[in-house]
């Protein structure tokens, strides 16, 4: 009896999960049907059994969620027309150009869209996801028990879906704008499914912005189902508030001959955990996965990737650039899995960190799990200060020390951002980097 009690010692956050869930579930049962109910229950069961992961859980080794999230903030419930209007008047830190804006205010979709070359719907509002999308909603997810995903599943109160019909391309990029506003802590759990059908293509921009000085907790899940021959360019910008705990997960499943490019640029939040679960399901597909992270003060950002080469003849490139100043901490965990039979897999992963301060800390944990014999896979990680020889070269041309450093840091980050095809978007991302550098002076 004594041991059983010891085993269930819970933190206040874990206690709150267990206490609040039954009433929340009762309020949510009116939407989504059996598939959503099953996911919700699965998420809750994982959390109830295991609690929040601490550093002894390998997957969370450098981001001890149990310690970093001692309290579970209450779901935001102060929605009003005024709040939505206030949010709609704000602009994200990333100057997103001409795009179709899909605004989420404190986790709740405020979009009122008609068809604009794509289908938008909300499962909670009873929009019909049609059979193919419904099948994606109800499928098994091998990342379902991941703590951040489980938390989102247990406490989601909507599921937004977007569908790009086969062979089409929306006129403008789709902009998922997540805006958290409030003056006391609150929690949000937005969830979006994006189905890009065979031969379709789309650019999806995801921005996260929020109030500074408020310890809000946001936990987003965005899933991409990318059909045969489909192409997706995804750019995410984390400019969350300076006290925020920002958990975000992107999951992508690629069919045959598909292309997926994803870049995450991070300057915000006190603590971020950014996860990518990517699975190649068909032959001949390629994924470019990139990150550019710039942190200062005591910011913490963890980028964790699981790239599952489940099909042969696929290529993935993972390139992460991190700049750390002051006492910031940057974490990179990347795992490439090559399934038995996934021959001719080509996977290369690199994580490079620039340390601008002696007190900054970088952790890198690249892993390869290879179960096929005819593959080319590799990884590399570096961490170091600015190159003194490069700095001298710039200074010898008359560029003062601080400016020389800024130029070198900018160029380091630019290598992560250069791949973005849209020039306006690429420049906007570099403006974010330059803004970060300017604040350093």
């Amino acid at each position: 009896m004594a041991t059983a009690e010891l085993a269930v010692v819970r933190t206040p956050a874990e206690e709150a999960i267990v206490e609040r869930y039954p009433a929340f579930r009762a309020r949510q049962q009116h939407w989504g049907g059996a598939a959503v109910e099953r996911l919700r229950e699965q998420g809750f069961a994982a959390l109830k059994t295991r609690g929040l992961p601490n550093r002894r859980v390998e997957e969370w080794k450098y981001t001890d969620l149990k310690a970093l999230m001692p309290q579970l903030a209450e779901r935001f419930d102060g929605f009003s027309q005024g709040l939505v209007e206030r949010a709609a008047a704000l602009r994200p830190h990333l100057a997103v150009g001409d795009a179709t804006r899909i605004l989420f205010v404190n986790g709740c979709s405020a979009a009122t869209l008609r068809e604009q070359g794509f289908v938008y719907g909300s499962v909670a509002h009873g929009d019909d996801p049609r059979p193919q999308t419904a099948a994606v909603i109800s499928r098994e997810r091998d990342y379902a028990d991941n703590a951040a995903v489980a938390l989102n599943s247990a406490f989601m109160d909507d599921w937004v879906f977007l569908r790009i019909p086969a062979g089409t391309k929306p006129d403008k990029p789709l902009h998922l704008e997540f805006r958290e506003i409030g003056d006391k802590p609150f929690a949000t759990y937005p969830r979006v499914l994006i189905v890009v059908e065979d031969g379709a293509s789309a650019t999806v921009i995801e921005t996260h912005d929020g109030s500074d000085g408020v310890a809000y907790q946001t936990n987003s899940l965005i899933e991409f189902e990318i059909g045969n021959g489909a192409r997706v360019e995804h750019v995410a910008m984390n400019a969350a508030g300076d006290k925020a705990l920002a958990l975000s997960t992107v999951a992508a499943r690629l069919g045959r001959d598909a292309r997926f490019a994803t870049l995450t640029v991070t300057v915000g939040a006190a603590v971020s955990r950014q996860q990518l679960f990517l699975a190649f399901q068909g032959e001949g597909s390629e994924a470019q996965v990139r990150g550019a992270t710039m942190l200062r003060d005591k910011q913490h950002c963890d980028s964790t990737l699981v790239i599952n080469h489940a099909a042969p003849h696929c290529l993935s490139r993972e390139t992460f650039k991190t700049v750390l100043d002051d006492e910031a901490r940057g974490v990179f965990q990347g795992k490439i899995i090559v399934a038995p039979g996934a021959q001719k897999t080509d996977g290369k992963m690199a994580a490079h960190t620039l340390l601008l301060s002696d007190a900054a800390e970088a952790n890198a944990k690249p892993e390869l799990e290879i179960f096929a014999d005819d593959v080319v896979c590799g990884h590399g990680a570096t961490a170091g200060a600015l190159d003194d020889n490069l700095k001298f070269y710039l200074m010898a041309r008359g560029i003062p020390e601080k400016d020389a450093e800024a130029l070198l840091i900018e160029s380091f980050v630019a290598e992560g951002v250069d791949s973005v095809e849209d020039e306006t978007l690429r420049e906007a991302l570099m403006d974010v980097a330059r803004g970060w550098l300017k604040a350093r002076e």
Partner: protein, 251 residues
């Protein structure tokens, strides 16, 4: 007043003394060649003049137009008019050559209290200078020196020199790694920049470069000191006899 006056200069790298009391006077309009065997301190002199941090000056003076420059950082020295053409120009991924040139030029102007150049004026200057060096516009859009051939890198150095219009240019082994055609392009570029207002120090191991950039004065550097000074014929003598005399003499 001489443009550059070096008095009894002593300098060390990683606690090893390389320059051991070097004296040199260079006047406006002159081109001086400094020749010497490997390890004699030629490149050290170039780096000390431009202020590379890991080179420690342990004694002596370096005066530019009568002003001691040893306390200035590399950027301040550049703004005063010192230019070093690197033996191994650095590759800077992610920084377009054009951005680099504009930043350098405007930084120097700012330090000197001059206004920034307008974009059209800057573009005009770059285009003119690039054309003379057979540098195409495409190369200017690429990141600084990344993927450039040896010849392209050296031409890029001379392009920077042409734009920055230094009072004193120090060319560190500019001939290294160049075939004869590339060498001519670079030398022509340097010769066009000779002027009564500007001096140059050409550091080289071989006489070959001096057929194209004809010096007014030739110095032999050995074991951290200038051991002989003469006219351009001294370079030919060194070519014929090698450095054996100087290595033994100093040893």
């Amino acid at each position: 007043m001489p443009l550059l006056e070096i008095k009894n200069l002593q300098a060390s790298v990683e606690e090893r003394e390389i320059l051991k009391g070097l004296d040199l006077v260079v006047n406006k309009g002159e081109v001086h060649a400094i020749m010497g065997p490997n390890g004699s301190g030629k490149s050290t002199l170039a780096h000390v003049l431009s202020g590379k941090p890991d080179y420690e000056v342990t004694g002596g003076e370096v005066l530019l137009e009568g002003e001691d420059i040893l306390e200035l950082d590399p950027a301040e020295r550049a703004a005063k008019g010192i230019f070093l053409a690197f033996q191994y120009p650095m590759e800077i991924p992610g920084v377009a050559t054009m951005t680099f040139l504009r930043t350098a030029l405007n930084s120097q102007r700012k330090i000197r209290g001059e206004p920034e150049l307008s974009t059209p004026e800057f573009m005009r200057r770059v285009r003119d200078a690039a054309q003379k060096l057979n540098i195409d516009q495409d190369m200017l859009k690429r990141p600084v020196n990344v993927g450039f051939s040896g010849g392209e890198k050296k031409r890029n150095e001379i392009l920077q020199m042409a734009l920055l219009e230094p009072k004193l240019a120090v060319l560190d082994e500019t001939d290294s790694g160049l075939d004869i055609d590339a060498l001519k392009v670079v030398a022509d570029g340097v010769n066009r920049l000779r002027s009564p207002e500007r001096a140059m120090i050409v550091i080289t191991h071989y006489q070959r470069l001096l057929n194209h950039i004809v010096p007014d004065v030739v110095h032999v550097l050995s074991k951290g000191r200038i051991v002989r000074t003469g006219g351009k014929e001294l370079a030919l003598e060194l070519e014929a006899k090698g450095y054996a005399d100087y290595q033994e003499e100093a040893a």
